[in-house]
């Protein structure tokens, strides 16, 4: 049932660091985060790691496991062979703070820049009425647990620090899509999506959808429809002409 598993864990801080080898007991049914906790409790009390719910609901414990962005709490040890060495490194797109903890403030800065939700007025009886089928489109994106694995894997920013200023990353492109599809929202964010959040940088390689632990179809259901809406507005000749001669509302 139990075996001595071999692990390589990146340890260090902003000044540098290296992979360290550990041998840790692994028991039936365990996930990578269990092993990290055992490592903390028995061999490396100061090993830095973020985690909260340990059930795939909070999105705190993202790391790269054998190079792949994953949640440590949802990666079962049984997906590896007992003889394999499992390598755990911090998310590469964000600056390291210490060990497996990275500085994810980029994401919080982008979140703060998105024009806020602004609903239409309530119905006369104080309620909003929406059909289930209409709320489901945005609900898919509201499943996002903000683990930022999509941000981590996105090649636009993964190895191009310079793009971060102009590109909000897949997490926030689907936030824009969510608001765009929200049945109550009244703000048009299409220009902002293109000009301020870098929608055009995405060339739909779908890496973000592949790593999403919530199975959100970021590209197919969020980013591509948003791109289409932007294109409709900007490049459809009739819409363009209509908006110029004032016959068509700028919608």
């Amino acid at each position: 049932m139990s075996y001595a598993g071999r692990f390589r864990v990146w340890r260090g801080d902003v000044t540098g660091g290296d992979l360290e080898d550990f041998t840790v007991e692994v028991n039936e049914g365990e996930v990578v985060l269990d092993v990290i906790h055992r490592l903390q409790a028995t061999q490396a009390g100061d090993l830095a790691v973020r985690w909260n719910c340990k059930a795939g609901k909070c999105g705190s414990c993202g790391a790269e496991i054998n190079g792949r962005p994953r949640l440590m709490c949802m990666t079962r040890m049984s997906t590896f062979g007992e003889a394999d060495t499992v390598t755990i490194t911090p998310l590469r797109t964000f600056p390291v703070v210490r060990d497996l903890v990275t500085d994810v403030s980029y994401n919080y800065e982008k979140a703060a820049q998105i024009p806020a939700f602004s609903p239409r007025p309530r119905d006369a009886d104080g309620n909003y009425r929406m059909q289930q089928v209409d709320v489901e489109r945005s609900q898919e994106f509201r499943k996002c647990i903000e683990c930022f694995l999509c941000q981590d894997t996105c090649h636009v920013i993964r190895d191009h620090e310079g793009n971060k200023a102009a590109f909000a990353g897949p997490r926030f492109l689907i936030r824009l899509a969510e608001l765009d599809m929200h049945p109550l929202d009244t703000t048009d964010r299409r220009d902002a999506a293109q000009d301020e959040f870098g929608l055009g940088y995405c060339n739909i390689t779908k890496c973000c959808s592949e790593v999403c632990p919530e199975g959100i179809h970021l590209t197919d259901n969020g980013i591509i429809p948003l791109k289409e809406r932007v294109v409709d507005r900007r490049f459809d000749p009739l819409t363009w002409l209509g908006s110029k001669i004032g016959r068509r509302p700028r919608d």
Binding site: D13, G45, G56
Partner: protein, 598 residues
């Protein structure tokens, strides 16, 4: 001493549902407001709430109203709830839910386009506004996005280690940045505690690492009181297998949506555990129970939907009697009762959780479940209307506050509690602060003392590892102050806690101050111990069984204890003092509600 200092009107400690709702209200009342939280914004434990927000909106059952919700809540708490809190909660919850829609929340809908409401244990009507089984995520994300839109300052990954007082009034708070280990202090005449619960003192729990009882302990140290601490809710359905996921929550919605409990013999055993208190409103036959899902008027609730304390005790008894599953739980079966499509639609995260973590397909086979420490009913004693604690300037809302849920909380009443009392606390905290024109400067000696105490674990060498002490505390609480309690065991628990206190005083940690989990745990442990002591002392004193407190040596409820609360305070020598206090009297017009037909 070099120290980062800030000035605010209101400092909110905790960024779950209650904390964020309080911060939004304080900000909108004109107070300069900050939120301080131990994790990143949006990761608080609220995110794990699954089933929904209880609010008598009457979208699915026009018969529902606040009086019915109030009655359900009081009866679920075995009448020990503070009546005024239960009343405000039932009255205001619908508005708090609607307000979330103004801020972008997207609840599941009824065919008419209104907010859909689902069934849950102890609620007479389908009452829980929900988003699949990820309602907590929707709640936290909505409040988070509102907080960001309002531009409220958030101190993320920052732990408060002391509340600062002067002349018996709040003057601010002291803490450290988890990332750098550097200290920070906030000067503020109002502090709102919204720190959540205590579950990390138990071995099997649905709670995250943040649930160390720090808010309970900080309040006690500052001179506030705690009420109802003996009442700890063990959620009946946590995962039991594999061992590494033991305790992770399985939402009550599984039962609300048609799931049933069975023992190893295949019997639907909950019919054997219907208490007299709920007999009139509970189905007697499986046929009646099954009809109830479609026709609530002419049938009574299935016994699987009794309040959580009843179901948890029943599961515990079945397992003890040898009728448990291979891994020591009971079976929770929805696979044989609902279509795979329905299950995946209504319970997507349960489907995912079992598939990923236990390799169980819940649309095809039964889950194995057992009780897990989930919620503490006890908390800071507050004024029901303002959430003010006994220390001027200190407020508490959400799980860290006590009184609202009495001896047992109904499912769904937690998220509504966060919103109703978070808002009230934020409002009152802002009012209190805006009246304080002269601000008291933080005293240098108090700041220096707080810093010294925080660094003490680094000064000691060769001491014990904090992880070992935490493990021993969790084992003690699990074994001796768990779901079923006896006097000798609780006395033993208190002895062990005393020994653990000595061990905590001699802990040492390795490494340095930058993002050091060992050090963080060393600073959390004193909180966990003090809360453990409060629970054990109060549980030893209350010689009856009621709600989330079951005494093997006193199995019945007691009329005298039905009128009595236990209040914990800090004795001059630093120990926990316990006093009995009469329950507040319910006014006649509310008492009448319980005379009405069941």
């Amino acid at each position: 001493m070099e120290l980062e200092q800030h000035e605010y009107d209101v400092v909110v400690v905790g960024a779950g549902g209650a904390g964020l709702r309080a911060a939004i209200e304080a900000h909108e009342s004109g107070a300069r407001t900050a939120v301080v939280c131990k994790s990143l914004l949006g990761k608080a434990h609220t995110v794990m709430a699954e089933g929904g927000i209880a609010a008598a909106m009457a979208n699915t059952y026009p018969e529902d109203n606040w009086r019915v919700h109030f009655r359900d809540t009081m009866r679920g708490g075995k009448m020990l709830n503070h009546w005024r809190m239960a009343q405000l909660h039932a009255q205001e919850a619908p508005d708090r839910v609607r307000e979330l829609e103004d801020w972008g929340a997207l609840f599941d809908r009824t065919p008419d386009g209104l907010i859909s409401q689902r069934d849950f244990g102890g609620h007479r009507y389908a009452r829980l506004a929900h988003v699949g089984d990820r309602t907590g995520l929707e709640l936290i994300r909505t409040l988070q996005q509102r907080t960001v839109a309002l531009g409220i300052d958030v101190y993320m990954e920052c732990t408060v280690t002391r509340l600062l007082t002067d002349n018996g009034e709040i003057t601010g708070a002291f803490g450290y940045w988890r990332e750098s280990g550097r200290f920070v202090a906030w000067q503020a005449p109002s502090v709102v505690l919204a720190t959540g619960g205590i579950g990390k003192s138990y071995k099997v729990t649905s709670n995250s690492w943040e649930y160390t009882g720090d808010g309970h302990s900080l309040a006690l140290q500052a001179g506030a009181t705690l009420v109802n601490m003996e009442f700890v809710q063990f959620h009946p359905t946590g995962m039991v297998w594999p061992p590494s996921v033991r305790g992770i929550l399985v939402t009550e919605s599984v039962r609300g949506d048609g799931g049933i409990l069975k023992n190893s013999a295949g019997n639907r055993f909950m019919f054997d555990y219907i208490p007299d208190f709920f007999r009139k409103e509970t189905a007697e036959t499986e046929a009646e129970a099954d009809r109830w899902y479609e026709d609530k008027k002419n049938n009574r609730r299935p016994p699987e939907l009794l309040p959580r304390d009843e179901v948890a005790r029943a599961i515990n008894s079945e397992v003890k009697a040898g009728r448990g599953t291979p891994h020591g739980g009971v079976f929770l079966d929805i696979a044989s009762r609902r279509s795979p499509e329905y299950i995946r639609k209504r319970l997507p995260s349960m489907y995912h959780q079992f598939k990923e973590l236990a390799e169980v397909d819940i649309t095809a086979e039964a889950m194995e479940v057992g009780p897990t420490c989930h919620y503490v009913m006890g908390g800071v004693e507050v004024d029901p209307d303002t959430e003010a604690a006994r220390v001027p300037g200190l407020f508490a809302a959400g799980e860290v506050a006590g009184g609202m849920h009495g001896s047992n909380r109904l499912g769904g009443n937690s998220l509504s509690d966060l919103l109703v009392f978070g808002r009230r606390a934020g409002l009152a905290a802002a009012e209190h602060a805006l009246k304080r024109i002269d601000r008291t400067h933080l005293r240098e000696d108090a700041l220096a003392d707080a810093a010294r105490a925080a660094l003490a674990p680094f000064d000691r060498e060769g001491g014990e590892n904090p992880y070992t002490v935490q493990h021993d505390l969790q084992q003690t609480m699990h074994d001796l102050v768990g779901i079923i309690r006896t006097e000798p065991e609780m006395e033993q628990a208190l002895e062990r806690i005393a020994a653990l206190k000595e061990r905590v005083a001699n802990l040492s940690v390795e490494g340095h101050r930058q993002y050091n989990p060992g050090w963080h745990l060393a600073l959390d442990l004193p909180h966990m111990l003090v809360v453990g002591e409060c629970i054990a002392r109060a549980a030893l004193e209350r010689q009856e069984s009621r709600g989330g407190h079951t005494r093997d040596d006193f199995p019945a409820t007691d009329a005298e204890w039905a009128r009595t609360n236990l209040v914990c305070s800090r004795a001059p020598d630093g120990s926990v003092a316990l006093t009995r206090q009469p329950l507040p009297r319910m006014p006649a017009e509310l008492a009448e509600i319980f005379e009405e037909s069941a």
